[in-house]
């Protein structure tokens, strides 16, 4: 967002050095619109140029300093005044003085820590942005440029299946099983529902993905539940001994990784909700939490050294390490 007031004598904009090559991703804004932003990973350097353009060349522009900041912050919608900054870096580009012609300043934030993933939710937003400012006595000239950060993980060491027997005494007993407890965002949930006892008249069965966003602490905790997906897995009445398969492809849904207690401000968790509906529209359900994580793209030989560090950061893996070696060899060779 840029602030342009009447009579501004200068324009300021920020351009990244790798704007041509860096990947852009879609990210939903607060009002639901989708826009494209440059994608960064933890540990990557953010570098570029700040262009200060004078509207009337020849007319001097006095200023109290020119700077650029890299900010990572959490905004709670019900508490807009307080932004919680968890990353805040500044580079001074120019000391107080004056500019007589349009100028360009280089900047580099080296190996910036970006510990959390960008998130826009119902009550909270976590964003990263560059903010270039020409400080002036009455009103600053400011330009913000949002970027999107993804946090990557590798295949977890331990990924047990979820298997449980639940029911209502003497009426309905089922055993449900999901093949994993941790799924990546393009994964497939493979499972089954086995009917041990059916003394009610079931009409159909579905599995829902529910996203729960929790914001706030102590007495003022807000939970926002959102049903992201409803997927019918059975139509008709089952009997004892029947096994209903589940095959749910996650790539088709708008999901984020599980975010637990981010900076002690919010959480985003996902649940599978198994729902059985009987002939009288009564609903019987069982909710189960799953962990979602983001898998890095296929490790290509030309993957940049920095992104290789980033993808290895959470859980070490042989594949990432060899890619790292390969990238190091290519860069030095």
């Amino acid at each position: 967002m840029s602030f342009f007031s009447f009579g501004q004598s200068a324009e300021i904009d920020v351009v990244l050095n790798d704007a041509e090559t860096r990947k852009k991703v879609e990210h939903k804004s607060e009002d639901g619109k989708k826009d494209k932003y440059f994608l960064f990973y933890d540990g990557e350097t953010v570098s570029g140029k700040v262009n200060v353009t004078l509207k009337n060349p020849g007319k001097r522009l006095e200023h109290q300093g020119i700077k650029i900041e890299f900010v990572g912050q959490i905004e709670l919608y019900y508490d807009r005044g307080n932004h919680h900054e968890f990353v805040s870096l500044v580079k001074d580009l120019a000391r107080p003085g004056e500019i007589t012609q349009s100028q360009t300043f280089d900047f580099e934030f080296t190996h910036v820590e970006k510990p959390y993933e960008s998130y826009t939710g119902q009550n909270v937003k976590l964003r990263y942005f560059l903010r270039a400012t020409v400080i002036r006595r009455l009103n600053d000239v400011v330009k913000e440029m949002d970027i999107v950060v993804h946090t990557l993980s590798t295949y977890p060491e331990l990924n047990s299946s979820i298997k449980m027997e639940v029911g209502i005494e003497d009426c309905l007993h089922i055993e449900f099983e999901y093949n994993k407890s941790k799924y990546h965002l393009k994964d497939v949930i493979v499972g089954k529902i086995y009917f041990l006892l059916v003394r009610i008249k079931i009409k159909h069965m579905e599995i829902d993905i529910i996203k729960r966003e929790t914001t706030g602490t102590g007495p003022s905790v807000y939970h926002e539940n959102d049903t992201i997906a409803k997927y019918e897995i059975m139509d008709g009445a089952p009997v004892r001994g029947e096994s209903i398969p589940i095959r749910l492809f996650l790539a088709g849904y708008d999901l984020t990784p599980t975010m637990r207690d981010i900076n002690k401000k919010f959480s985003v968790r996902y649940y599978l909700n198994l729902v059985l509906i009987d002939e009288e529209e009564r609903r019987y359900f069982k909710q189960q939490e799953i962990t979602l994580w983001r898998k890095g793209d296929v490790v290509r030989k030309s993957m940049s050294h920095q992104a290789a560090i980033a993808s290895q950061r959470f859980e070490g893996s042989a594949a990432s390490e060899s890619a790292l070696e390969q990238a190091a060899k290519e860069e030095s060779g």
């Binding site: 309905l172 009997v239 001994g241």
Partner: protein, 160 residues
């Protein structure tokens, strides 16, 4: 790491179903019919009773086949008992039709054929909905309503 590029979507292993389970009668058979309205009594003190016949294979019901006669106020009694004692949301009964009890109507009032049919259908829907509810099945009032000759209004409420 040796994770495949394409996920394994094969079905999980499951026990084969026993053929008697697959082709036998389902364990959830429950049918209740409300029919045969009969007018009882004389003059101003007449009322209608309906036959309530239940067929089931649910073990929670003592009788697999039962037949009783009930009137509208019995259904009301059942609804009140369930609303008080159980946690369920009790479905609505067909209307009380107080206007039909007033004199000087052009038709048969409470004993009008079309009205009786409407009421019969509503009572049938009501009792089927209730009887299939796992929580209602635990209530003694339901079992007494469906399977005992007469309703003892001084019974001790409780769970089966």
């Amino acid at each position: 790491m040796s994770e495949p590029a394409v996920a394994d979507t094969r079905r999980l292993n499951s026990k084969p179903q026993d053929l008697t389970d697959a082709y036998g009668p389902p364990s959830n058979f429950l049918e209740i019919d409300v029919y045969d309205p009969q007018i009882v009594g004389v003059g101003r003190n007449r009322y209608t009773t309906y036959e309530v016949r239940m067929k089931t294979n649910l073990p929670i019901f003592k009788l697999k086949d039962s037949c009783v006669r009930r009137r509208y106020s019995d259904f009301e009694w059942l609804k009140n008992e369930l609303e008080r004692d159980s946690k369920i949301v009790v479905p609505p009964l067909p209307g009380k039709a107080l206007k039909r009890q007033l004199p000087f109507r052009g038709d048969e009032g409470l004993f009008e054929e079309s009205f009786l049919e409407e009421r019969r259908a509503g009572l049938e829907q009501f009792i089927n909905r209730i009887a299939g509810h796992p929580l209602a099945q635990n209530e003694r009032c339901l079992h007494m309503f469906l399977q005992e000759e007469s309703i003892d209004r001084n019974y001790i409420p409780g769970k089966v």
